[in-house]
């Protein structure tokens, strides 16, 4: 597409490259400021393997949501209901296991089926009636959380899950958090789906021009159904992992997580209008959010500053993306207004 000379420049100024630099900068800052040696000569703080594993463990759920949110946003849609669905999944799982006596593997299967079903509800409303995803998922955002609250009467929580289930959220496998394995598998699957299959291409085609995709013969409705069902599945998986990590399931599980997931996706360079973006961008965006929101205590800064910086980073990333276009448009406007009213050239 480009000549080689421009290729390097393009690679350097790609969103992903810049984001990677920000991420490395962040990490090095915390590494040098947040790692110390205590009296007995043991290294403590951000730089230790334990701290890194903790950060990974805490951010797997938001990472899962961001991964399944990427195809949704690629098609030009959005799913606000994933955080609420996490809560509903956690509560239904807890109820099945504790109150109905369903064995853990069957309860996990049923919960994932519920997630797919909930995603299917979003998909049906969005595709069959052609309703805007923002409003449909705003409705189910309220509905799923409401069902979770109604099922638990707002106060009931489930705990005391068997150790084999808690292992998913608390144990280490080969020195890494167990849920990271699940996360890597999902990430690989979504990456292959989006970047190496015709299905993934069709997501972008729909996001770029939904009507055009329809005329080109793509089954737009079925493709949209796929991404929303996938989002539902991912949300209930995140709900299960959250439950295993804390050994607790309550109606408020995952409150506000949808916003962090959307932040990670958009920070990763996926256009909120759909049509362009990448899964590896989302992974970088997620890592940047995860490091910022979990590492500030290591440098003795309050955790809230991390949230603030995440928001600011999002604004800066967005503005940086449009600034060149904005400036060139501004210059063109100035130029054209000058050519319309040509200034007389001063004689020497």
């Amino acid at each position: 597409m480009n000549s080689d000379k421009h290729g390097l420049k393009k690679l350097l100024f790609r969103h992903e490259t810049l984001l990677l630099l920000v991420l490395v900068g962040e990490w090095l800052f915390f590494y040098f400021r947040g790692t110390t040696t205590n009296f007995s000569g043991v290294t403590v703080g951000f730089g230790t393997a334990g701290a890194q594993i903790d950060i990974l463990r805490h951010s797997c759920e938001i990472g899962l949501l961001a991964l399944v949110m990427t195809p949704v946003i690629l098609t030009g849609g959005i799913d606000l209901s994933v955080g609420s669905l996490m809560g509903l999944s956690a509560v239904v799982f807890g109820k099945l296991w504790r109150d109905a006596g369903v064995p853990i593997p069957a309860a996990i299967t049923a919960t994932l089926a519920l997630g797919a079903l909930a995603g299917g509800l979003n998909a049906t409303l969005i595709t069959a009636l052609r309703l805007p995803p923002l409003i449909v998922t705003l409705g189910t955002f309220s509905l799923f959380r409401g069902l979770a609250e109604a099922l638990t009467r707002g106060a009931d929580t489930f705990t005391g899950f068997p150790a084999s289930f808690q292992a998913i959220g608390q144990n280490n496998w080969f020195g890494l958090p167990a849920q990271l394995l699940v996360f890597v598998l999902v990430a690989a699957a979504i990456w292959l789906l989006v970047h190496r299959t015709t299905l993934g291409r069709s997501f972008r085609a729909i996001g770029y021009a939904s009507e055009g995709a329809r005329y080109a013969g793509l089954p737009v409705g079925r493709r949209l159904a796929t991404v929303y069902i996938l989002a539902g599945l991912g949300a209930s998986l995140a709900g299960l992992i959250f439950t295993a990590r804390l050994n607790q399931a309550g109606a408020n599980t995952g409150t506000g997580y949808e916003l962090f997931a959307i932040t990670a996706v958009v920070l990763g360079g996926t256009s909120i209008f759909g049509g362009s973006g990448s899964v590896h961008g989302t992974l970088l965006g997620w890592a940047a959010v995860a490091v910022l929101s979990d590492s500030l205590p290591y440098v003795d800064w309050p955790r809230e500053v991390g949230g603030m910086l995440t928001g600011l980073l999002l604004i800066v990333a967005l503005s940086a993306g449009v600034l060149p276009k904005f400036l060139s448009a501004w210059r063109a406007r100035r130029h054209s207004s000058r050519s319309v009213n040509p200034q007389p050239t001063p004689s020497p």
């Binding site: 959005i78 409303l125 009636l129 052609r130 309703l131 805007p132 923002l134 409003i135 449909v136 705003l138 409705g139 189910t140 955002f141 309220s142 509905l143 799923f144 959380r145 409401g146 069902l147 609250e149 109604a150 638990t152 009467r153 707002g154 916003l259 959307i262 932040t263 958009v266 909120i272 209008f273 309050p302 809230e304 500053v305 991390g306 949230g307 603030m308 995440t310 928001g311 600011l312 999002l314 604004i315 967005l318 503005s319 449009v322 600034l323 904005f326």
Partner: protein, 310 residues
């Protein structure tokens, strides 16, 4: 009839709820609890919903109102606590809100960034900044500042009259004045509006400034209702407001809807919780019912537009 189908059906649903309450739960109509309910739950949300209606008609959205609501409330309350009069704290809060709105507006209208992402970012930033600076400490404005220094009854009526007056005023502006029609024009087709001589970016910017200023006003209307101002107020307010606006028949794709429908939608959604309580049903069903109402409203929209297309 068909033109105002949504407004009429929402009003009918509201009437049904009110009649049901009159038949089965007379206690709901005791004047003082009802007045308190309307002042605390409905009036401030109505003021923000007015701004949200304009923003959504303009084909934008603002999800940062909950966070700026909390900051404006805390800042106004801090001024009151320092001994400044309400006549200074109230405009200060409105101005601060307008400044927040202007920032959103500059990013959306000036740089052309998507409003949902911009306001998502400002929502997180302002909320975390407030948490960091105040650490969740309540602001004590004392009973002398409560209800704007009026008696409780007078204060409550002032709040309701200001909210309803603002709504009616804006409804008239939107229907009969050029400025109001500009908003509809920009939301329907920004390029066509530009060719007709309207400045879409300016209209969008001003809509954001307006919702900011109204949020600042609503924050003070809510803050003076108790001697302690809660710094975590307004969490989830943006979605409650958007829900009321959408149920009231404002199209999320811009250019359609009016404030009377929004009033009916807000009253319907706000009546669920007290209705459940007075009818002896568990109040934990509130969010589920709210979600169902939102979905029903949009499904009705979808079915109607499909019928029209066929």
């Amino acid at each position: 009839m068909s033109r105002y189908f949504r407004e009429i059906s929402v009003a009918a649903a509201l009437a049904l709820v009110l009649v049901g309450l009159a038949l089965f739960a007379r206690a709901f109509y005791q004047p003082q609890p009802l007045l308190t309910l309307v002042t605390s739950q409905v009036a401030p949300t109505l003021v923000i919903a007015c701004g949200m209606t304009l923003v959504i008609i303009c084909r934008q959205i603002d999800i940062s109102v909950g966070s700026s609501f909390a900051i404006c409330g805390v800042c106004g309350a801090l001024l009151l606590k320092q001994g400044f009069p309400i006549g200074l704290a109230l405009p200060a809060s409105v101005l601060l809100g307008a400044a927040f709105g202007a920032l959103n507006g500059a990013l959306v209208a000036g740089l052309g960034l998507p409003s949902i992402v911009v306001t998502l970012a400002t929502m997180v930033t302002w909320r975390e900044a407030l948490r960091w600076l105040r650490q969740g400490v309540y602001v004590n404005i004392g009973t002398e500042n409560q209800w704007f220094g009026l008696s409780q009854r007078a204060g409550q009526w002032t709040i309701i009259i200001v909210a309803v007056g603002l709504m009616i005023g804006l409804a008239v502006v939107m229907k009969h004045l050029a400025a109001g029609r500009f908003v509809y024009a920009v939301g329907t087709d920004a390029e066509a509006a530009r060719l007709a001589g309207i400045r879409p970016r300016l209209v969008t910017f001003l809509c954001f400034v307006l919702i900011g200023a109204l949020t600042g006003l609503a924050a003070m209307m809510s803050a003076v209702q108790s001697p302690q101002v809660d710094p975590t107020a307004g969490v989830g307010l943006e979605l409650r407001t958007i829900a009321a606006v959408v149920v009231g028949g404002v199209s999320i794709s811009g250019g359609r809807g009016n404030l009377w429908g929004v009033l009916a939608g807000l009253l319907l959604l706000s009546s669920i919780n007290p209705a459940l309580t007075y009818l002896g049903v568990s109040a934990f069903w509130e969010k589920a019912i709210q979600g169902t109402i939102i979905l029903l409203a949009v499904v009705a929209d979808g079915l109607r537009s499909r019928k029209r297309a066929n």
